[in-house]
């Protein structure tokens, strides 16, 4: 069994090994209620990672995801009072449009995606600061419970966040596996020039991929705002690193083309288990960022398809 054939299976093997290690050391970890709780807590991060999957799948990156989520927590907090449930539509639409803007700038104006998304992230940050007046905002508790309370409840011990995540995974899987869009994204990720040469409107599909990424980042922000019952322009800072890690340890390489939604599910669970295990092994929370930084490097190094990069810049 050589390493190349093993590679696609590494993510779930890693996950099982990690769960086993933590489980042996702390049997309490494996209690269903504990596992469900851990899974429920990671959902906002997961949704952001799900969106990032699309951007990375086509060989790009979306560094605006965190700012987008930040902005949406503010938008949701500001407009919940006046718009009620419609604020959700506004949030998702804002994310989708800003994502489209990133995609447009990347594909039509030839700005590399890490710069274009960084720039659009700056725009989102400005909007967040402007709307919030640079303060932390709170939602009206009763109104939040009436409008979005269903998002964060429990049914028979299962957190509702997990149901939301499941629905979104279903939609994304459908897009990836059963639609023209999904096939087109795969083609773009596998070889953009070939895709363009065979008559695919590459730019349109890439713009859509960034738009989906933006919309999912917005949903992540909305859920986060509901959980915390408020928003602020920097409240979701710290999401970007683990979200990128989740996509990459799941096995979607930076070069795109392989991997996908299911990989990100596994990747996010790996991130969740790493986080939880740090708690159990009493590793200081302040070390988390260092650990994830190194995990990120290892994950990229293992997954990246170097045949696609003629020169590594």
């Amino acid at each position: 069994m050589d390493i190349q054939r093993l590679k696609p299976h590494l993510p779930w093997i890693t996950l099982i090994v990690l769960v086993a290690i933590v489980g042996i050391n702390d049997p309490g970890f494996l209690r269903p209620s504990n596992l469900l709780g851990i899974a429920g807590d990671i959902v906002p991060l997961f949704i952001m990672a799900l969106g990032l999957t699309f951007a990375i799948y086509i060989g790009g990156i979306d560094l605006s995801a965190q700012s987008m989520a930040n902005m949406v927590t503010v938008v949701a907090s500001v407009y919940l009072a006046s718009m009620g449930a419609w604020v959700a539509v506004l949030c998702v639409l804002a994310g989708f449009l800003l994502g489209m803007l990133s995609g447009y700038v990347t594909t039509r104006l030839f700005v590399p995606s890490f710069i274009s998304t960084l720039a659009v992230g700056g725009v989102a940050f400005s909007i967040a600061q402007w709307l919030s007046g640079q303060r932390a905002l709170n939602m009206d508790a009763t109104q939040r419970n009436e409008t979005f309370g269903w998002m964060i409840g429990h049914t028979w011990g299962v957190p509702h966040e997990l149901l939301i995540a499941a629905v979104l995974v279903g939609i994304c899987l459908f897009i990836e596996r059963r639609t023209t869009l999904g096939r087109a994204l795969k083609a773009v990720g596998a070889g953009e020039l070939a895709a363009a040469a065979s008559g695919l409107n590459v730019a349109r599909y890439k713009i859509l991929a960034f738009a989906i990424s933006g919309a999912l980042a917005a949903i992540a922000g909305l859920l986060f705002a509901v959980k915390l019952s408020g928003g602020a322009p920097t409240i979701a800072n710290g999401f970007l690193l683990p979200a990128i890690v989740a996509v990459l340890v799941g096995g979607t390489p930076l070069t795109g083309g392989v991997g996908g939604v299911v990989n990100t599910v596994i990747g996010t669970l790996i991130v969740a288990v790493i986080r939880a295990s740090m708690l159990y092994f009493e590793i200081d929370a302040t070390r988390q960022q260092i650990v994830f930084g190194f995990v990120l490097i290892v994950a990229i190094a293992l997954t990246i398809d170097r045949a696609k990069l003629r020169t590594v810049k």
């Binding site: 710069i115 960084l118 600061q129 960022q289 990246i304």
Partner: protein, 321 residues
């Protein structure tokens, strides 16, 4: 004899023209903008950013990118504050030793960045972004989230002692700007950066050790980030894990707006200077004419897109990721 302005000439001088136009614009709206006091204010704000921008300029000239500055600046700032305190906390005593030590530390972090990038063959934006996260993480670990004060009067003199209206730190930044210019134009290393950025295959084929040039470039950038860190600590009198926050966005924006092409091979430290001044004049000018400061990131974001668009020869690029 009128000659049509060529695209290259226009692009070369556009950033400087933009800077002059901005100065005239803000002066027209509020004459106090054009005063020594205000220029000193802009210079103080711009000095650390300039050091970061000069550092990353070398990397961008090579056609790579370095996004590790936030982590590196935080890490070196915090290290500086600790070492400085450990050595007596005074520039008059042994405290000055902290400065060379921290410059070396910055260089080592840069070497690490470069090695991760070239040895593991990871694109530089991601390698350096990941290392930046590690750097911020290390700074959090060192401080435990606390603020480390540096209140030595001699060291703070970098900010408080003024010559001709400008504090010492501005002259130090200017000195290192010239050092950067010297490296760029008068050393083999500087020529090699342009060789790698102009065409890596060609540089490699002519016998250049591209790997070594890249790693050295990242090391040099790390040293400049460390200088920036020391200047920041001198300016605000403290170091913490968020000392480097926002440097990434501002410095990349500055360098690109100043006219350094993201594709490599074009531009240099003077572009970095013009870019940093554009960004800081906009920041300062918006405050002076009474615009809210939250618009800055958005304006900078749009500006950077515009700059990349203008500097890209679209016939040359087939697609970007």
């Amino acid at each position: 004899m009128t000659r049509r302005l060529s695209r290259e000439t226009l692009i070369k001088w556009a950033p400087l023209l933009v800077l002059i136009a901005l100065v005239i614009f803000f002066t027209a709206l509020n004459p106090t903008f054009f005063s020594l006091r205000n220029f000193a204010r802009i210079a103080i704000a711009a000095a650390p950013a300039l050091m970061v921008a000069v550092g990353v300029t070398f990397i961008i000239v090579m056609g790579s990118i370095d996004l590790s500055m936030e982590g590196t600046v935080s890490m070196t700032a915090v290290s500086f504050a600790f070492i400085f305190a450990q050595l007596g906390g005074s520039l008059g005593g042994l405290g000055w030793v902290a400065i060379p030590l921290v410059l070396v530390l910055g260089g080592l972090i840069g070497v690490l960045n470069g090695l991760v990038h070239v040895k593991l063959k990871i694109p530089s934006f991601m390698a350096s972004l990941a290392m930046g996260f590690v750097g911020t993480g290390a700074a959090i670990l060192l401080t435990g989230g606390d603020i480390v004060k540096v209140s030595d009067a001699a060291f703070r003199g970098l900010l408080t002692v003024r010559w001709l209206g400008f504090p010492l730190m501005v002259y130090i930044a200017a000195f290192f700007l010239f050092a950067g210019w010297f490296i760029q134009t008068h050393t083999t290393l500087g020529r090699n950066f342009y060789a790698v950025g102009g065409g890596e295959d060609l540089a490699h084929a002519s016998g250049l050790n591209v790997t070594r040039v890249r790693v050295t470039g990242f090391a040099l950038a790390g040293v400049f980030y460390a200088i920036a860190a020391i200047l920041v600590v001198a300016r605000i009198g403290q170091a913490e894990s968020v000392t480097g926050a926002n440097f990434m966005f501002v410095s990349i924006t500055s360098v690109v707006v100043g006219g350094v092409a993201l594709w490599g091979g074009i531009g240099g430290v003077w572009n970095a200077l013009v870019g940093v001044l554009i960004v800081n004049v906009i920041d300062n000018g918006m405050v002076v004419i009474g615009l809210p400061d939250f618009l800055q990131d958005g304006v900078l974001g749009l500006l950077v897109i515009l700059a990349v668009v203008l500097s890209t020869d679209r016939k040359m690029v087939s697609f970007v990721k």
